[in-house]
Symmetry: C2
Subunit: 203 residues, 2 copies
């Protein structure tokens, strides 16, 4: 996918070090039904992956530099507790952010994918945030911020989906598939938060 | 809003019996920024409220009867533990579901609104599910199911937004505003889940 994923720092998709999720493929199938996620959505995500493939750095730059950087309550999660920038942290996590877009569109949603959703969730909680990058930053990202910001991602991804000249109907279907996947992923990320001893605080 | 809300069973919006949320208007303002929710979105939600006003029963019928009823893992939340239908429960909660659409579009997002989001969240957890309707049903709705199903609501609401002959651009803006509001509401609903002692199980 895109490039050797071994080049992405801290990206451990499919590796043995990623803990097995408590969610099974069967439970994910149920979740897909609840979200109305069908094989058509899978096909349109693949198409979205092709369209977004060359644009992921641009998309992540848009999210991080044009939006998150100007919202103090979000920007703090990639800064030191004193508010200083940590360029190496941003570079590493941006590389994973880019890959996450591709994984959303192009990976099969199998047990490895489920496991990595759990890992992503954990890396936003106090159990694992900052750990893989060895940085000193906010102790966790409140789940409310994660959920709220997906609204921005869902809205701002759409223009990028039009860039290959697909029909309005195809763009709409790619976008719908993307939005469904994001809800499914959030449903999975909530698990690690609920399992976190500090959950009430971390909300 | 639509009709005397005192006619809606168990609907306690703005009443003293609704506990004050731990979330303040200032924290909601921060959440709105994180979701990219602006005054333009507020205006388009008002417009959506006008467009949806006469259609809310139809929308809720679509969600409940055409979709939820055919998904056992969701349908069980309005049935007895033995799987029997509870028509009176459905009727009451459908009336509130209709009003929720209107509240999403037409209410000011003030402290009363925040408090009622907490109440809605609680009524999906084991702390309060079934209580206001005095029914015997599933003990709670897992947060993952709530999040996943919002993908269905977001997708299926769109055609209803076109029914007043608004331009494609207006429909898109109404839909975007709706989707942002849903993410904000989910961010608020997660709080009661995190505060629930049974949180890990309820995920």
């Amino acid at each position: 996918m895109r490039r050797g994923t071994e080049e992405i720092p801290g990206y451990s998709y499919g590796l043995a070090e990623v803990a097995r999720s408590t969610v099974s493929v069967e439970q994910l199938a149920e979740l897909k039904v609840s979200a109305g996620f069908t094989e058509e959505d899978e096909r349109y995500l693949r198409l979205a992956g092709q369209v977004l493939g060359d644009q992921v750095e641009q998309v992540v730059h848009h999210w991080r530099n044009d939006i998150i950087a100007s919202i103090p309550s979000l920007a703090r999660h990639s800064r030191t507790p004193e508010g200083e920038a940590i360029p190496a942290y941003l570079e590493r996590s941006n590389a994973r952010f880019c890959q996450w877009i591709l994984d959303t569109c192009l990976r099969p949603y199998d047990q490895d994918w489920i496991n990595y959703q759990q890992e992503i969730g954990l890396r936003h909680t106090s159990l694992k945030k900052n750990e893989v990058d060895g940085v000193r930053s906010s102790p966790y990202v409140p789940m409310r911020d994660v959920i709220a910001f997906t609204a921005v991602m869902n809205k701002t991804i759409k223009p990028y989906l039009t860039s290959n000249g697909n029909s309005a109907d195809e763009v709409e279907k790619m976008h719908t598939a993307w939005c469904k996947s994001i809800q499914i992923q959030m449903a999975l990320w909530v698990g690690p938060y609920a399992d976190t001893k500090q959950a009430p605080k971390e909300w």
